[in-house]
Symmetry: C2
Subunit: 167 residues, 2 copies
């Protein structure tokens, strides 16, 4: 693995956290990274709901079937997209989500992507907890904290998925 790409390979799904809060500076950095993502025609259809309140984090943990770790997370970010701004909002908000996850790794934080849009029940439940308008899609919910588990950097490179020149 090329050392210049270490930050990308070190982004792993981290679900166990220490009690240390996520600082305002780090949260700001994550949001700046999210909004540094490319978007189709630079329409930037995204909105971000950033949560650090313990009661809301607990409610989010109950709202997502794989979100139990949110009850002990330092922060959550719901990445949302407005289809009225761009029909490409799912792709744009996925890029913003990935930027936040790589930024978390770069800042020494751990995070995990909890899928939402594509599963109407999950999207509805998160929308309810956070008061997100019905007109806005909830692409993902990110659980973020200071890591209390270690996972080594990795690619999952699979040569059988690479086609050279043409399929």
């Amino acid at each position: 693995m090329d050392e210049r790409l270490t930050v990308i390979f070190s982004r792993r799904s981290i679900r166990v956290y220490t009690p240390e809060p996520v600082s305002e500076q780090d949260l700001q950095g994550l949001l700046e990274a999210g909004m540094a993502a490319p978007s189709a025609s630079n329409r930037k259809p995204w909105h971000f709901v950033a949560v650090t309140d313990r009661e809301t984090l607990r409610a989010l943990a109950d709202a997502h079937p794989y979100g139990k770790m949110l009850a002990r997370a330092g922060a959550a970010i719901a990445v949302c997209g407005d289809p009225g701004i761009s029909t490409w909002w799912v792709q744009d908000c996925s890029a913003a989500t990935e930027n936040i996850l790589i930024a978390a790794a770069a800042l020494g934080l751990g995070a995990v992507w909890l899928g939402s849009h594509g599963n109407p029940e999950r999207e509805h439940a998160i929308r309810g907890v956070l008061g997100i308008p019905d007109s806005v899609g909830v692409l993902s919910l990110l659980s973020i904290g200071h890591p209390a588990e270690e996972k080594p950097p990795r690619t999952q490179y699979d040569a059988s998925r690479v086609h050279r020149g043409r399929w």
Copy 2:
């Protein structure tokens, strides 16, 4: 901007390239970065068509309405997804695409995301040039080369898109 996040902010859409080829080592790094992306339930629904042949690059330039720069690019990668492997393939392949773009920035390359899936004409044209099966979606086409234009790192942070605690 936090210096630890510079690589994320330095990912800009680069459409002008020098004639220098993209090395096999760098192309390998880009593909490893793509396959380091997270995917729902770790199903990894992606395939990558990597092109360095000039004639095929020219054909891709003609196949995409915003793809003229491909005729002079060092390489292209079509990021594809198999809906038969995962219903979340659009989000997963968008994360893989963003990983490749950030990796390009980390390697000193320049790249740009050309949207495909979501526009049936573009997707059909790229599929035809590269021989991609009808059962596989073409999420994006990436144009990659050694940059001959400079763009400064940036976030497009917009405080009005941040909602604290709830929407």
